[in-house]
């Protein structure tokens, strides 16, 4: 109703409105090519809101960018800076949103209601809106969030084994490399591990997953007599066994010689060449390579497994979709029209806008069946399988990434994300993906994993060290030691491994105490207040 009135107004005032667009400068802490200027959903959103965004996407290192932004005192109108959003709040850059939301943003208030306690900072104010709200209930996705990925070729040749332990995983890869020393004329790469600057967690986070944990960050909270106690895993026996295995594989030539000096672009390039047989990572870090493989070389796609250190560990690596309450989009003190800004965000988060951004226009980009469930025809599906079209013509990324959005089930039982529509996960998969799912008798790759466990505080890594505090300095030091030793652990000669490991434990152990205190306090606080 209101919408149609608005539309009429827009058409009537036509050219006039085009000239009187409100402009907001937004900084987003992730890289994306500049907005193409006009996209299917972007044009609709612009017409309905009368807002033009001047977008600034991340170039280079986010931590540096945020530090410099704060030091310079020159802020955009709206900002989202991933893990470093809280630094902006500490520096007094963000304005409290409580009153703005109360008066001007009924949809935000309604849709974030479930998460409201988590969003309140110690002073009782809300400073940012997390990029996802789950108002009606969680969903599952086609791919789990992390895993040991292995090339489909390897599984197929070995007769679709279920990969459970690290030894089995590398055994399969080793056998395949022996039989096929080259792929497409170039040497086969058995295993790649990503180690590029801040992304090095793809290598150093692994021990906790081998112990069965989902992604907690640098430490794991262990349940001891009804209390979650923060413990270190970097020096655990599991970590030792993991690095020793990588060391063995490196010396056998299975792990790529270049793996510790390549940057992220080179990593993606190698993965998408189809020469790589295995890598551990969080799925979003290799998603772009997987999409290229699906298009160009579908037999070489990667399949995730919840690999653990030995048969005794029971894994629960999958996480329940959660709201990243410690980061999100905020409005800065430089914004001249905070009411306009919050109204724009309120418009974006509405269910019908979300449906537009995720599904598109009914009849054009999706259909509704007799039960009210959404689906896409084969032609529509083909459109959405082309990443270039989705990004540059449809425009999904430009209104979904970084902006507040909805996730999970909607009010009618459909999913906000087409990818997670339960009856569509399997049927909308690529034939190559279906072949793997059929072989393992699952309907999504997430089904290869155990059910997640409910942990109220989850996850630990969203607790941040106070800026510039001794714990913060200790954290940087610890990561320095970790980043210095890990390549040495893997690349040293097998007979030197024990010595390097002893030095590593000696150097890293004294650099944990202060951080563990901060994490423990945070966990205890969350268990009590969330």
């Amino acid at each position: 109703m209101l919408l149609s009135v608005f539309l009429v107004l827009v058409t009537v005032s036509g050219t006039l409105a085009a000239q009187e667009l409100k402009e907001f400068h937004v900084f987003m802490g992730e890289p994306l090519p500049d907005y193409p200027g006009s996209t299917i959903i972007g044009d609709i959103i612009r017409a309905e809101t009368g807002v033009k965004l001047n977008r600034e996407y991340l170039v280079g290192d986010l931590e540096t960018k945020v530090g410099l932004m704060i030091a310079s005192g020159d802020y955009p109108d709206m900002v989202i800076a991933a893990h470093f959003t809280s630094l902006l709040k500490d520096a007094g850059v963000l304005v409290p949103l409580n009153d703005l939301i109360e008066e001007h943003a009924p949809n935000i208030k309604r849709l974030y209601a479930n998460h409201w306690e988590m969003l309140q900072q110690e002073d009782g104010n809300v400073y940012w809106l997390p990029i996802q709200a789950i108002p009606y209930g969680p969903d599952t996705s086609r791919y789990p969030s992390l895993g040991f990925f292995i090339s489909k070729k390897v599984l197929k040749e070995a007769g679709w084994p279920v990969v459970k332990t690290l030894d089995e995983y590398f055994g399969l890869i080793e056998d395949y490399v022996k039989k096929h020393p080259t792929i497409n004329g170039e040497s086969t790469i058995g295993y790649l591990t990503l180690f590029d600057s801040w992304r090095s967690f793809a290598t150093t986070n692994v021990p906790q997953h081998l112990m069965g944990y989902p992604n907690e960050g640098e430490f794991v909270p262990v349940l001891e007599q009804d209390r979650f106690v923060v413990r270190d895993y970097h020096t655990s026996n599991t970590a030792k066994a993991y690095y020793k295995k990588l060391n063995e594989m490196y010396n056998k030539g299975i792990v790529d010689k270049e793996t510790f000096v390549m940057n992220y672009d080179q990593y993606i390039e190698k993965l998408s060449s189809g020469r790589v047989l295995g890598t551990f990572n969080q799925f979003w870090q290799l998603e772009s390579a997987q999409n290229i493989l699906l298009r160009d070389d579908p037999e070489s796609i990667f399949v995730p497994f919840p690999v653990v250190i030995d048969g005794l560990v029971e894994e629960y690596q999958r996480d329940i979709p959660y709201v990243q309450s410690t980061q999100g989009m905020g409005i800065t003190v430089s914004c001249k029209d905070p009411v306009g800004a919050i109204k724009y965000l309120d418009y974006l988060i509405r269910e019908d806008t979300q449906r537009l951004i995720q599904w598109g226009i009914e009849g054009e980009h999706y259909e509704v069946d007799e039960n009210g469930l959404y689906y896409r025809t084969d032609e529509q599906m083909a459109l959405f399988r082309d990443p270039d079209w989705v990004q540059n013509v449809f425009g999904r990324q430009y209104f979904h990434n970084s902006f507040p959005s909805l996730r999970g089930v909607d009010e009618n039982g459909n999913m906000f994300f087409p990818d997670t529509q339960p009856h569509l996960i399997y049927s909308s998969s690529h034939d190559s993906e279906k072949e793997v799912m059929d072989a393992y008798g699952v309907k999504s790759f997430s089904d290869l994993y155990n059910e997640p466990r409910e942990r109220k505080y989850f996850p630990l890594w969203t607790i941040t060290m106070p800026a510039g505090s001794p714990a913060h300095i200790e954290e940087t030091r610890m990561k320095d030691v970790l980043n210095g030793y890990v390549p040495e652990l893997v690349m040293s000669k097998p007979e030197e491994f024990e010595k390097v490991w002893a030095n590593f434990v000696r150097d890293i152990s004294p650099l944990m105490e202060k951080q563990m205190e901060v994490y423990q306090e945070g966990i205890d606080w969350r268990m009590e207040n969330w």
Partner: protein, 313 residues
């Protein structure tokens, strides 16, 4: 030379001279203002180093901490590593860069075939105009173990049996920085020496030829001594940059494996200062660098004067 005359003039000569050179003095005023605004006024920001600066408050509302930031700095084991790396890489770059530039200038100067001379000069200074972001990727590709040109050449010449992961060997990092610096800057650096060589009186060479000096002797006895003032002035000026040694080059070529040898002051200020919002600490590091640089410049100046060269001051 005119010092001898100015020594003898009367006390009010300053004003006379000022009047005499009025036009020159007036012309230099804008530059003086520029220097004051951009080089002296910002020094005021050094007060941050003695505070625990937190953005969003004015400078007068900050807490004063005295010398705490400097104490933190000198107690930090990473600091000494950073100092070593910065000095080592600066000296390697300075020595290799200067020697290579002079050598290139001498060689180009001897070439008599003009088209080749021009082409050689252009090709050698072109890399200077590439930003390090691009150049670092070129270096990475060239040194790659996966089809990099350096390894390919060494392999095909049977000098090595296995490709070497150059960027992964900590001790090699300084030299990679030095050599890639030479590759990028050698032609650019040679220009100033070429200009100095062009200013040498040709009659000196003619006299030398009559005395029977060959090409090499001419270079050694005429060209090099004639450009000695240029070399020493450039060296003195570069002394001031010993504790800077660049940022992009190291930042873009480093990786976790070699960080112990790659971290220089600028990266240290970023990682342990600005990224953690320790602006005061970063300022303290900056002050330390400035003071040491000043001492180095003065020392080099004295050194040059003692060895009979004209100094800067």
């Amino acid at each position: 030379m005119n010092t001898s005359t100015s020594l003898a003039v009367k006390p009010n000569s300053f004003w006379q001279k000022l009047k005499q050179q009025k036009a020159l003095v007036l012309m230099s005023v804008p530059f003086l203002i520029h220097v004051i605004i951009f080089k002296y006024i910002p020094i005021w920001g050094w007060v941050l180093a003695f505070q625990n600066y937190w953005p969003g408050k004015s400078v007068f509302q900050q807490t004063w901490v005295g010398l705490d930031n400097f104490r933190d700095l000198f107690n930090d084991p990473v600091f000494y590593q950073v100092l070593r790396n910065t000095l080592a890489m600066s000296i390697i770059k300075l020595v290799m860069g200067t020697v290579a530039s002079i050598a290139l200038a001498l060689i180009i100067n001897e070439v008599r075939f003009m088209p080749f001379k021009k082409a050689a000069q252009t090709i050698s200074y072109l890399p200077h105009f590439i930003s390090w972001v691009v150049a670092a990727n070129l270096v990475r590709d060239a040194l790659s173990t996966d089809g990099g040109i350096v390894n390919d050449v060494l392999l095909s010449l049977n000098i090595i049996k296995e490709p070497i992961m150059f960027l992964g060997i900590p001790k090699l990092f300084w030299w990679i920085i030095g050599i890639s610096h030479v590759w990028k800057e050698v032609g650019w650096g040679a220009i100033i020496y070429l200009a100095a060589i062009a200013g040498i009186d040709p009659s000196l060479y003619e006299a030398a030829v009559i005395d029977g000096a060959g090409r090499l002797k001419q270079m050694w006895y005429i060209t090099l001594p004639s450009i000695r003032p240029t070399i020493s002035i450039l060296l003195i000026m570069n002394m001031g940059y010993l504790l800077s040694s660049g940022f992009e080059q190291q930042y873009l070529l480093q990786n976790g494996r070699v960080i112990d040898y790659a971290r220089v002051f600028t990266i240290y200020e970023l990682d342990y200062g600005i990224k953690m919002m320790r602006y005061s600490f970063a300022t303290a590091v900056g002050i330390f660098r400035s003071v040491v640089s000043l001492v180095l410049v003065f020392a080099a100046n004295q050194f040059a004067k003692r060895f009979g060269q004209e100094g800067l001051m």
